[in-house]
C-alpha cells in the first residue's frame, strides 16, 4: 500500500511519465523522478509496464493493406 507521503510522490510522478518515457523530461526533473523510482517499486512497475504497453502496440504487426484494396485504389484513381 502507498503511504500518504509516497502516494503524493507517486501522483506527482504520474504527471511526468509521458515526457519521461519519451526521453523528453528535463534533466533536473528526470533525476528527481529516477531517485523516486529507485525507492518506489510500485512506480517502477508502472513505468516498466507503461513502456511495454507502448512497445506492444507499436510492434504488433500492423495488418498490411490487402492487395484487393490496393488494386481498387489504383483503379479508382485511374493509375492502373
Amino acid at each position: 500500500m502507498y503511504s500518504e507521503e509516497r502516494h503524493h510522490d507517486c501522483r506527482e510522478l504520474l504527471g511526468e511519465l509521458c515526457d519521461y518515457v519519451d526521453g523528453e523530461l528535463e534533466a533536473a526533473l528526470c533525476a528527481e523522478l529516477e531517485a523516486h523510482l529507485a525507492e518506489c517499486p510500485d512506480c517502477r512497475i508502472m513505468v516498466d509496464t507503461l513502456r511495454r504497453t507502448i512497445v506492444l502496440y507499436r510492434t504488433q504487426s500492423q495488418p498490411a493493406m490487402p492487395d484487393d484494396v490496393r488494386t481498387r485504389l489504383y483503379r479508382v484513381l485511374k493509375l492502373e
Binding site: L17, D48, L50, Y57, R58, Q60, Q62, M65, R70, Y74
Partner: protein, 216 residues
C-alpha cells in the same frame, strides 16, 4: 513497387503539380498503407477504411495545387484522412447518440493522469510470444477501440504511426501540450487494460511453470 523517381519531397511535389502519373504512383506507394492503417484503426471497419483511403487520395490529387508545402506530404495526407474518418465517426455517434468526447468509464477524467492505478503487477518482462497471443491481440484491439476518439487518434498517430508531437498536433488541429495530455491519458488507460488481462495470464504462466520445472 515503383522506382522512387522523385528523390526528394520537393521533386515529388513538382511532379504532382505537373500531373505526372509517376508522381501520383509514388505518392501512393509511399503513403497509402499508412493512410489505410490509420483509417482502419480509427474506424475499426475495413470497408470504411477503404472508403476513407480512396477519398483521401482523390481529395489530395484535386487539392495538390493548393498545398503550400509548409507541412510534409504525409502529415497533410494524415490530416485529410483523419478529417474524413472523424466525419464518419460523428455520423455514427449521431446515429447512436454517443458523444465522441465523453471519456469511457475508467479513463482518467482529471486529464492529468493523477489517478493511481490499482494494477501494479509486473508483466513487463514476460516474453512477447507469451504476451502476443491471438486472444491478447483481441484484448489490445478492444482496449484501443474503447478509448474516446480524441485519445485514440492521438495514440494511433503518435505511438503506433510514430509521428512526432508537433506532427500529431498538426494532423489533429490541437496544441502540442494537448497532444501530451491526451497521449498520457491514453497510455495509462491502455496499460490498465493490458494489466487486467496480463495479470491473469501471468498467474496462469506461473502456475503452469511449477509442474514443468519439477518434471525436468
Amino acid at each position: 513497387m515503383v522506382d522512387d523517381a522523385f528523390a526528394s519531397e520537393t521533386e515529388l511535389l513538382r511532379g504532382l503539380r505537373a500531373g505526372e502519373a509517376a508522381a501520383y504512383r509514388q505518392l501512393l506507394e509511399l503513403h497509402s498503407a499508412n493512410v489505410y492503417n490509420v483509417a482502419f484503426k480509427l474506424l475499426g471497419d475495413e470497408q470504411e477504411a477503404e472508403d476513407v483511403l480512396q477519398e483521401t487520395f482523390m481529395s489530395a490529387f484535386e487539392a495538390i495545387d493548393g498545398f503550400e508545402g509548409r507541412s510534409k506530404l504525409s502529415t497533410w495526407l494524415y490530416r485529410i484522412a483523419y478529417n474524413a474518418s472523424l466525419m464518419r465517426l460523428r455520423k455514427r455517434s449521431q446515429m447512436t447518440s454517443f458523444s465522441l468526447d465523453v471519456p469511457t468509464s475508467g479513463v482518467d477524467q482529471d486529464g492529468d493522469g493523477s489517478r493511481v492505478s490499482r494494477h501494479l503487477v509486473d508483466w513487463s518482462s514476460v516474453p512477447d510470444d507469451q504476451l502476443l497471443t491471438a486472444e491478447a491481440r483481441e484484448v489490445m484491439d478492444r482496449a484501443i477501440a474503447e478509448l474516446p476518439e480524441t485519445l485514440r487518434s492521438t495514440f494511433i498517430l503518435r505511438d503506433i504511426q510514430g509521428l512526432s508531437g508537433s506532427e500529431t498536433a498538426e494532423v489533429l488541429g490541437i496544441s502540442v501540450p494537448t497532444v501530451k495530455t491526451r497521449l498520457h491519458r491514453a497510455r495509462l488507460w491502455l496499460r490498465d487494460r493490458l494489466s487486467d488481462y496480463f495479470d491473469e495470464g501471468a498467474r496462469g504462466v506461473r502456475a503452469a511453470a511449477i509442474p514443468a520445472n519439477r518434471g525436468s
